[in-house]
Symmetry: C2
Subunit: 384 residues, 2 copies
């Protein structure tokens, strides 16, 4: 990218890390073989693919044959929901992919609090005797709020045990969309207590159009895409070797540097937050102060037009989002901000600032100064 | 790849053309933005994506908004079949993806002749009043036999008109899987007479894990993957910008050089064919002598073990296939060879030799000599 630009939209997309691209390159034009071909150069490609899946599994604390590599988080989420025959429970602030997949089933949408927190108790109340799936994202992509997955997992475990006790064999599973926050929070599936987990390579400095669904070995998935029988019959089509090798490298790097990077981003983010609230004491903070992704800051300037701000900031070289990229593109108000009860005049003046690899102390401070100037100018403009 | 190897398996996988990789590179780490983001660097990414779709559409004689970019041919095929509620008709030699998708519906599998040719009359006989979809691959991936799509399209058009005349509104569509043969045969959708067409970037020197489904504008597809509403709601998930830009370049190159490349490959293939049949007059040719992909040669050596031959040839640096890569990997006999009625002892001694960009006059001639030597050695071995 243009080095004069300051990118504060890491939650929308991340560049491929050069170290990731380096491990992918051989598979583009040299080791291009079909991993199902029998000769040894193809067998080597298969081995590289299998090793990448092994790495992906290892990082999340799972087994390779519990992982289905997909073309991204949206496909993974659809796959997780595909075999479900009963009722599903999802919070109102889930990504559109989860909401859309849920709406293909009998579903209950659970409210969240004003910080975007999903309470385990609200999940408990929404669970019915025929509930088969609860899906809660590990972190919200607009607010950055991270969810108490372990506590929600305990609710689901209790329900499962209660069903077993009364001889009811209706299964109930817990899926999390962990697309946001890899490299900032722990995604070990056992520690999270989930049964299924979705990851998105394109949000962690890996190649786009690659993702995975992990499903515990007791879960029977129903394929969305049938054919040659790849991925144990759960996702047919020639395997994405370059993409999967890159994904594995990206996930390894993200996990390896998680502690350092979270602390670094928290520091940068907190300084930015301080600067903006010092300048605008009436600005509204959204999200959870404590349970939040390290790089995330959601701030609203009541009365201003967030979309206009995005463009004035772009003119100054600062790239920010108003909400999620999807919603922004459609010109509709973010369903997340509606769900947390943000007043329309506040919601419409929102910026989502997300820091990441491209953020430095210097460019974050500089961006903060520019945002202060532009927000001041906008307030002056509308008051004149 | 190792330049000492001679690759005769272009139907299984193709390397990314350096010109294709060159147009993809900027989108990996520089222009990595989410095409749905509002700032201008992202809008430029969106524009590149739209231009690539425009190119894809133009090459096949369609409109950009009739195209859904997918993660490959298998997904495209599944999408084509997904909305179908009635009966479907497919030939017995279709790719596993088509057969598996068909089997999710009430279906009729149509026989082919010993050359792998699908007769329009057999399709006509299989069509029932509730038939909604006929799917015939433009060329078979094992035999290379190309199908009389225009004549089959005429059968379907007749059926459609007959239904209209009697006031029957049951739709009937014609889909072709054109994964094989791009760059060797014409894929203009109007000239083919099809209603839906699947393409696979990974088989035409483009990036893997990218494909498309073209569907005429009167067709209502049912999405396999729901969410953010990308691709007009027909395939959600962040768009694969690098992949689609590469796919468009690959398709353009393939079409541009089609005439020259087909003639070149036909020449090489015919020399190879001549050499092998001169040396082994009892070898069995499969496929259609005339209606066949330029680079394709299917030959069987009765009594020999094709899988063993693959390995002895690999030891001599020649990479060939026994059948389709999928079937080879499972150790089962090819359903295509069963369908054309090849005797088991002939089928088991089969090689599929597919030429392409990596084939030269010199390396093809050299490969031919090596195949002759190794087949001779194998016959000597089993006769001793």
């Amino acid at each position: 990218m243009n080095t004069e630009l300051i990118y504060l939209d890491h939650a929308a997309a991340t560049p491929i890390d050069p170290r990731v691209l380096a491990v992918m390159q051989p598979f583009f034009s040299d080791d291009f073989y079909n991993p199902s071909s029998p000769y040894s150069p193809a067998v080597n490609v298969r081995r590289a693919y299998d090793e990448a899946k092994h790495t992906l599994a290892q990082v999340i604390g799972a087994k390779p044959d519990e992982i289905v590599v997909t073309a991204g988080a949206t496909e993974s989420i659809n796959l997780a929901f595909n075999g479900i025959t009963g009722h599903v429970v999802v919070p109102a602030i889930e990504h559109h992919a989860v909401l859309a997949a849920a709406k293909l089933h009998d579903h209950t949408i659970v409210d969240v609090d004003e910080r975007g927190l999903v309470s385990p108790d609200s999940i408990k109340k929404a669970i019915r005797p025929d509930t088969c799936l609860v899906s809660v994202a590990i972190a919200n992509n607009e607010l950055g709020t991270t969810q108490p997955l372990r506590d929600i997992a305990a609710v689901i475990k209790n329900e499962r045990e209660a069903r077993l006790e009364r001889g009811d064999k209706t299964p109930i599973y817990f899926h999390t969309d962990a697309s946001q926050g890899v490299g900032q929070i722990d995604i070990n599936v056992a520690r999270l207590g989930v049964d299924m987990l979705t990851l998105n390579s394109g949000k962690m400095y890996g190649p786009k159009q690659v993702g995975l669904l992990w499903a515990a070995s007791n879960i029977t998935l129903t394929p969305l895409i049938v054919g040659g029988g790849q991925e144990r019959g759960l996702r047919s089509g020639t395997e994405n070797v370059a993409g999967t090798v890159g994904f594995a490298k990206a996930l390894s790097l993200a996990t390896e540097h998680r502690k350092f990077e979270s602390e670094r981003l928290t520091g940068l983010r907190d300084s930015l937050q301080q600067k903006l609230f010092d300048a605008f004491p009436d600005a509204i903070f959204s999200g959870h102060h404590k349970h939040r992704l390290a790089g995330h800051l959601h701030i609203s300037f009541p009365g201003l037009d967030g979309e206009r701000l995005v463009f004035t900031l772009e003119n100054r070289g600062v790239l920010v989002a108003t909400g999620s990229a999807c919603a922004a593109n459609k010109g509709t108000r973010s369903h997340v901000l509606v769900a947390i009860g943000l007043a329309p005049e506040v919601a419409d003046g929102s910026l989502r600032l997300t820091l990441g690899h491209l953020s430095t102390e210097e460019n974050t401070a500089h961006a903060g100064d520019i945002i202060v100037e532009e927000v001041r100018r906008e307030y002056a403009r509308i008051q004149s």
